[in-house]
Structures are given as structure tokens and as C-alpha cells.
Symmetry: C2
Subunit: 141 residues, 2 copies
């Protein structure tokens, strides 16, 4: 895949979610920085560091995943020099299913590199399920 030019953090974000929805590993990795310290935290999973581990995780996700659509909401973008922080809710709709999956809350960090804006951190985590009590153990934080 030829290198893509992502001119703004918003454009990089769109490319990230488009690659995710279309389950394209090459499109996904083209949005990520190639730096050794890029970081990816999937929901309820351990942190992954570096392009090799992150690529493998997306390969596994895309291997299992049916076609998806994203309905992102609550987007907030803070730009500060050559970095941008995006916080948003991801709602995933899976083809053939009657309703959306439980929403995910995500923090994405983009950095302006020579090739344009690239993602350097993706931290996704479950939002509270209002039907469940929050376990006691979480109440100190």
C-alpha cells in the first residue's frame, strides 16, 4: 500500500475507523506511526507496544470480525502543537445483528510526523453497563 498523506488529526481518525470497519490490516497499519513506542490497549486487554504486536492484534481482530459499522459520538478533539488527543464513544454495529454492541470509550492520540498525522496510542475500554453494578473493587478509583 502506498504511503497515505493524512493532513489533519480528524482525517487520521476517519482513516483509522474506516480501516477498522473494512477490516483492512494494511489500511489500519498505514494510519499508525512506525515508532517503537506506539501503544494499543484493546478493551479489557493488556497493553501492546510497538508495530509488530499491534499489527498482530488487529490481524486477530479482523480475522474474527464480521463486517462492522461504527457510530461514533461524543467526539472531542484537543490539538496542541504536533499532537492531538481525541476522546469519543464507539458504537459498533455488526451486520446481521439486531442491535449495537455495548459502547466503548476510546482515547486516541495522533502525532504529526513527516508523512502526516499518525496514530500513536489507542486506548479502548468498556463503558458502564447500566444493568450491572460496578464491582466493589473498582470503587477506590
Amino acid at each position: 500500500m502506498p504511503e497515505i498523506r493524512l493532513e489533519t488529526p480528524a482525517e487520521a481518525s476517519r482513516a483509522f475507523y474506516s480501516a477498522f470497519a473494512s477490516r483492512s490490516i494494511e489500511a489500519m497499519m498505514a494510519v499508525w506511526s512506525k515508532a517503537d513506542d506506539i501503544t494499543c490497549i484493546h478493551p479489557m486487554a493488556y497493553r501492546l507496544t510497538g508495530p509488530r504486536a499491534i499489527r498482530r492484534s488487529w490481524e486477530q481482530i479482523f480475522h474474527n470480525a464480521p463486517p462492522l459499522r461504527f457510530h461514533n459520538s461524543e467526539e472531542q478533539l484537543t490539538l496542541s502543537g504536533e499532537m492531538a488527543v481525541q476522546a469519543l464513544h464507539e458504537t459498533i454495529l455488526v451486520e446481521g445483528e439486531s442491535g449495537p454492541h455495548p459502547a466503548i470509550i476510546a482515547t486516541n492520540i495522533f502525532r504529526l510526523e513527516r508523512a502526516g498525522w499518525r496514530i500513536i496510542l489507542h486506548h479502548a475500554a468498556p463503558l458502564p453497563d447500566v444493568s450491572e453494578e460496578i464491582p466493589e473493587a473498582h470503587q477506590v478509583h
Copy 2:
């Protein structure tokens, strides 16, 4: 509380966890930027935006919390101009309890402001409990 000078992202991080452990709301809010778009995501909770909502959440946490100690690990800090991204594992030890609470994975973002380094985002989420299966619903992400 007089304004504190935090000279590095690492110093701001230490001030954040020291305020957390000592349950001091003034020390905690002194580490946060005063910007309207500061963001805080506690484990399994909705996103909070802005100093007022974030202050209230820490007041509630500190009101309920017993004395704590943090054993942070797996720290990784990426500096890029006037922003710094920290990813780490937080292990909370509560006085009088026999073992640690389930570990938390956190992303913190610090920004260099006129008053020094300040936290602008804290995203904390549970790490997987190896004794539990990950629910089917999470497998698409």
C-alpha cells in the same frame, strides 16, 4: 494552595499519584490543567470533561477511599514537544487489606502550560482478570 511548579511530565505524574494516595482534593486539582476540555475517565465510568465535573468525581472518590498506596509499573513515557503521553499499570494497595486490588491500566496525558506541566487527560480501565472469560461482545474490538 499556592500554585505548584511541575518541571517535567514525570514530576507531574508523581504529584498526581501522590495527591491520589493522600486523598487531597486541592493537591489533585493543582496537577490538572484549568482548561475547559480536560478529560477524566475512571474505570468503567463515563467520560468527564472540565474542571468542575472532574473535581467532583475526585471528591467522591476521596470521600469513600481508605488510605491507599500505589505500586505503579510498566511505565512508558513518550514526549513530543509540549505534550507527553504516559501509559502504566496502577496497582492499588489499601491499608488493612491482605492483597492488592485488581490492576488498572491507565493513559495519562500531560501538557506544558505557563505554570508548568499539567495533566489534561486521565483514562483508567480495568486490566483483564485472568480468572474471567472475556465476554463475547468484546471480541469484535
